[in-house]
């Protein structure tokens, strides 16, 4: 480890809370998928509208910023999404907005960015979200990578093919077997199915009007999950990213269309407006790693975020890690000494089952974590983390406002940690 800044507990400035979050049902990115006939921006609009409907106490003009992420910002994902989505959603024209891109961590970056704006007092309330219509905008579509990347060996040629980077992860550690990955992928499907049956999925969804071959209908359920997936059923699936490889469709997140949005506010403003506090943002961090093994990104990002929060992994009672690939989750679990079946990690399944609309996924993690906070007040802290193409990781540490020890009165000024508060971050060899 390199030298650390002085320890402190979380962000400086005003306390920021997650008030609410919603997502569209996710659709398969295919010509006959749920959203084949629906515009990407309309998906984001549906989420923002739903936030306003669910929070009638919020005067729309109090929204101070709208940040919406997309990885491919062109066509119906172009034209400064945050601004256009705000206008299309009927927010007053005085409400500003911007677009965000950090590939898969787009919505997560939108969230932390507006949180920072709130923390420094620039705005009181903000909307953050993301959208990816991968059916219309495949990852890397229209991109023109600089030839120097390859000519100068800046990155491995695998770095732009996410499945290939997942294969590289398998290569790097003998513990990361296909069998473990298959088992994890199947578990994700099972956990999602159980959560759906228990009603823990629907609560976050907004119904979206869509056209199916001219006919209007309503999207109310996720399309990507494959219930009934068994280990036997996936054992012999082909490995599209490498002959004789280990990564299959069952251990990868499917190509997905979908959008998410969440509402954040300064804690005191939320209280003033009568808005709920579903999670408090404690700290966040982004970190870079070798693009050829981009799946390792969550490890240093999480270490850094925990360090900023003055917490250790053992303080974390709930983890939502994005399942771009099963192997990338396993690498994260190994790094922190967690069991593959640790109940703290993705108990309701993850992106392998529900899908991963790139720049939208970060907020899905946050709202799913917030639901867990609500359902289990004994959890004090949680974290959301994800890997990012071209070798990045992103992590946010959250506090559960329902926990008995939560200090709902304090509105600002995280103080520097006292001498006794030593971080318990485990040493991990990357």
């Amino acid at each position: 480890m390199t030298s650390s800044p002085p320890m402190r507990r979380g962000l400086l400035g005003r306390r920021v809370v997650l008030v609410d979050g919603v997502r569209t049902p996710f659709g398969r990115a295919r010509d006959d998928g749920l959203y084949a006939g629906t515009r990407a921006d309309d998906l984001a609009v549906a989420c923002v509208r739903e936030l306003l409907h669910r929070n009638p106490n919020l005067p729309p003009e109090r929204v101070g910023e709208v940040a919406i992420a997309a990885t491919t910002q062109q066509g119906d994902q172009g034209l400064t999404l945050g601004r256009t989505v705000a206008m299309l959603a009927g927010l007053p024209q005085e409400v500003p907005g911007y677009a965000v891109d950090r590939m898969c961590a787009g919505a997560l970056t939108a969230t932390t960015q507006v949180a920072a704006q709130i923390a420094v007092g620039a705005v009181d309330v903000a909307i953050a979200g993301g959208v990816e219509h991968m059916g219309r905008h495949p990852l890397g579509g229209g991109a023109d990578p600089n030839p120097r990347f390859v000519a100068e060996g800046l990155v491995d040629s695998d770095a732009l093919v996410m499945g290939a980077t997942a294969e590289n992860l398998h290569d790097g550690d003998a513990r990361l077997t296909r069998e473990r990955a298959d088992r994890y992928g199947v578990a994700s499907q099972e956990r999602y199915a159980a959560a759906l049956a228990a009603g823990r999925i629907d609560r976050d969804l907004v119904a979206v009007g869509v056209r199916d071959q001219g006919a209007w209908t309503l999207a109310t359920a996720d399309e990507p999950p494959r219930p009934g997936t068994t280990l036997e059923g996936v054992r012999d699936l082909p490995t599209p990213f490498r002959p004789g490889g280990r990564v299959t469709a069952a251990t990868s997140s499917p190509l997905t269309d979908g959008a998410t949005a969440c509402l954040l506010a300064a804690q005191d403003v939320a209280a003033e407006l009568g808005l709920a506090a579903r999670a408090r943002l404690v700290s966040f961090a982004y970190a870079g790693v070798d693009p050829a093994v981009m799946g390792l990104g969550p490890v240093p990002a999480t270490r850094r975020a925990l360090e900023l929060a003055g917490l250790g992994i053992d303080d974390i009672g709930a983890i939502e890690v994005n399942e771009a690939f099963a192997v990338q989750v396993l690498a994260f679990l190994d790094a922190f000494g967690l069991d593959d079946a640790d109940p703290r990690v993705n108990p309701d399944g993850g992106a392998i089952a529900v899908g991963h609309p790139l720049a939208a996924s970060g907020v899905r993690l946050a709202i799913q974590l917030a639901r867990r906070f609500e359902d289990d007040p004994s959890i004090r802290y949680g974290l959301t983390t994800m890997c990012v193409g071209l070798g990045q990781g992103a992590t946010v540490v959250w506090e559960n406002p329902h926990h008995p020890a939560y200090d709902g009165e304090r509105t600002s000024g995280e103080h520097l940690a006292s001498a006794g508060a030593t971080p318990t971050t485990p040493e991990v060899q990357l």
């Binding site: 509208r49 009927g90 009603g199 119904a207 009007g209 001219g214 209908t217």
Partner: protein, 702 residues
């Protein structure tokens, strides 16, 4: 156009706190597979398909498989009404009767489905489209919808798929008659907001998530969480009073000119206390009667003329038009200022007005500013757009400031020498490709261009007053006008949001020639001893927008007299001399009194009769006519003149005349403009020995 299909999908109804679990809603979408520029219409096949779909859904409802049913449309369109083309293909009363019965058979199922039914009005809902929504138990509307209406009476029909019966019950007879009669006649459909206020719809929802919110609202109705109150039946006496007042008004405004409005009123009156079986039977009879009228056929023909986005007859290929990036207007008088404002608003290019002195320039700019302020005040123009418009109009006394203009429109006093002088002065100033247009209403464009080096660039653009409101521009091709100049004139007219009708360079062009002929025949009859009052009422049966003396008053007696005189000089004695009219102009005799009520005709004052009597030339033979005699004289004259116009090549088709008279003079749909009426009354056969339009085009086939 592909026919409209009825597509069905099952949708989950939410519960009070969950996305699903509230049962199944069968969601019907009307879709013709085309975009919003081709609105969905309801053909007999579509209606039959709807009936089959509803029967199947009723069966599902009876088995408890659906909890509700809703109908919506493709984006921006709910349904634009019955397929009019198919209505005009009906050749027998039995077929017409079947048309009404078919609609009722399908729509009635929406009341008898066994589960609540909803219309999610996501876009335009007109005629049979709105009636489809009315047939449902409940209605939501998207806040963006601009047109909900029952325009049937303007097309010679009645709202005969339930509208005449259901709308009064839903919103009260007074509001219903406003929709069915007044707004139909004025082509003013309801906005979503107005429909919501009146109770035509039950709730207005934001367009951004309209379908999802409509489904949620429907679910709350199904659950019983939302209860919609319906109005109690109207007391007999107030109902009667409203109907009587409406009838009085129709008698005055419509008279016997066309049957549809009175028939619609009678339906509203008769169906008040009836069950749906009897009420719908009356609607079927009314529809069948009206479908088999010339008035209805002529109305649909007229509707097609004014709504068709067809290229005007005789317009050169649009790609020949020259770009117009700067426009000059010579003159800063009332007409010039109106034209300058229109150009600035619609073409969004700099406009330079030129007049002789700075006072006139200032007056022209003041007029522009006053009009812009008015538009801002009425919410028709944002302050930002107003600033742009005002900033783009300048005035000058120096003709040389028109140097960079691609188009110069002159609107100076109607004197040939003046206009020739203007063009002669302009020619060395403007570029070689600049188009010179004249707004003359009576002078020869050919003569105006005669002495120029490039007469081929001169064209007529005849605007009507008030410029902002009148939808017609007559585009005049002079003898030497070339194709690019003409194409530019048509392109500019289109860009200004006006309809162009082409005309050869003949006196009075189209509209003024026929309108002034009619006025001339009326005063001619008075000169020959017909009482003013009789002459003024003679044309009432035609249902023109106003009686002749009121029209004289509107255009100004002096202007009317001037045009009448010049047309007589050019076109002969069909345009009679009228010493009485000369006296009225000379003495400034007020022509008409105030209307008995707003919108009712204004009739001549007694002084008008006195002026005619005092000024009458004793040599004029006295042959007083009754109303029928005057009307006959007018129709013979119109027929004769139209025959001459076609012979002279003023226009190449009678339909151009009809389009011009509808848009330029407000002549009514039920006359089809004018030529369908002359055909069906036998005047064209009698006077010209031939029909003007083929049998069946704008009339019931023989």
């Amino acid at each position: 156009m592909s026919t409209t299909g009825v597509l069905v999908r099952d949708v989950d109804l939410p519960t009070a706190d969950a996305l699903r679990g509230g049962g199944t809603l069968a969601l019907l979408t009307l879709d013709n597979g085309a975009d919003h520029t081709r609105p969905t219409t309801l053909s007999p096949e579509t209606v039959a398909e709807l009936e089959q779909v509803l029967l199947a859904q009723r069966e599902r409802a009876s088995r408890g498989q659906i909890a509700a049913l809703a109908v919506t449309g493709k984006p921006y369109v709910f349904a634009a009404g019955a397929d009019l083309k198919r209505v005009t293909e009906v050749t027998s009363r039995d077929q017409a009767l079947a048309l009404g019965r078919g609609g009722h058979a399908a729509y009635r199922l929406l009341r008898e489905l066994g589960v609540p039914t909803f219309a999610f009005v996501n876009g335009v809902a007109l005629g049979g489209g709105l009636e489809l929504a009315l047939a449902c138990d409940y209605r939501t509307v998207a806040g963006s919808v601009r047109a909900l209406g029952l325009p049937e009476t303007s097309l010679g029909l009645v709202p005969g798929w339930g509208g005449a019966t259901l709308l009064p019950r839903l919103i009260g007879v007074e509001a219903a008659l406003d929709v069915i009669l007044t707004r139909a006649a004025a082509t003013k459909p309801l906005s979503a907001h107005e429909a919501d206020l009146l109770g035509v719809v039950d709730v207005m929802l934001d367009p951004a998530d309209f379908l999802a919110r409509s489904v949620a609202w429907a679910a709350s109705v199904v659950r019983g969480d939302t209860v919609v109150a319906r109005r109690a039946p109207e007391p007999e006496d107030s109902f009667r009073a409203v109907v009587d007042a409406a009838r009085t008004r129709l008698d005055a405004v419509v008279g016997t000119s066309r049957p549809a409005p009175h028939r619609a009123l009678a339906l509203v009156e008769q169906t008040r206390d009836l069950g749906l079986d009897e009420a719908y039977a009356l609607e079927d009879e009314a529809l069948a009667d009206l479908v088999m009228t010339h008035e209805m056929r002529a109305s649909v023909y007229a509707f097609g003329l004014v709504t068709g986005a067809k290229r005007p007859v005789g317009a050169p290929p649009a790609e020949l038009a020259r770009p117009v990036r700067r426009v000059g207007v010579v003159g800063a008088g009332l007409m010039a200022a109106q034209i300058a404002l229109l150009v600035a608003r619609r073409l969004k290019v700099p406009v330079v007005m030129r007049d002789l002195d700075s006072e006139r320039c200032a007056a022209g700019l003041a007029h522009v500013r006053a009009e812009v302020d008015k538009a801002v005040h009425r919410g028709r123009l944002t302050t930002a757009r107003a600033a742009r418009v005002l900033g783009s109009i300048t005035a000058t006394t120096n003709l040389a400031d028109l140097a960079g203009c691609d188009l110069v429109i002159e609107a100076v006093t109607e004197r040939l020498d003046l206009k020739k002088h203007v063009f002669a002065e302009l020619e060395p100033i403007v570029g070689p490709d600049a188009v010179l247009a004249t707004n003359t209403s009576a002078l020869s464009v050919t003569a105006m261009a005669a002495d120029l080096d490039h007469p081929e660039r001169v064209v007529g653009l005849h605007f009507f007053n008030p410029v902002a409101a009148m939808p017609l521009v007559e585009v005049i091709r002079a003898e030497r006008t070339d194709e690019p100049a003409l194409a530019t004139a048509y392109a500019v007219t289109k860009a200004l949001g006006k309809n162009a009708v082409g005309s050869a360079d003949r006196p009075g062009f189209i509209v003024n020639r026929l309108l002034v002929l009619l006025l001339g025949r009326i005063v001619g009859a008075v000169e020959r001893g017909t009482p003013v009052e009789v002459a003024d009422r003679a044309c009432d049966v035609l249902g023109l927008p106003m009686p002749p003396f009121q029209l004289f008053d509107l255009v100004g007696p002096a202007v009317g007299l001037h045009v009448l005189t010049s047309l007589r000089e050019e076109l002969g004695e069909a345009f009679p001399r009228s010493p009485g009219l000369e006296r009225i102009v000379a003495d400034g005799v007020p022509v008409v009194g105030p209307p008995p009520a707003p919108g009712l005709p204004r009739r001549p004052l007694p002084d008008v009769q006195a002026a005619f009597d005092a000024a009458r030339d004793p040599a004029t033979p006295q042959q007083p006519l009754d109303e029928a005699g005057v009307l006959d004289d007018v129709l013979v004259a119109l027929t004769t003149e139209i025959g001459r116009m076609l012979d002279e090549g003023v226009v190449t088709t009678p339909s151009q005349i009809d389009t011009a008279m509808i848009l330029g003079a407000g002549w009514p749909f039920h006359l089809g403009g004018i030529t369908p009426y002359l055909d069906r009354t036998g005047y064209s056969e009698r006077v010209l020995g031939r029909r003007l339009l083929p049998d069946g085009v704008a009339s019931l086939p023989e």
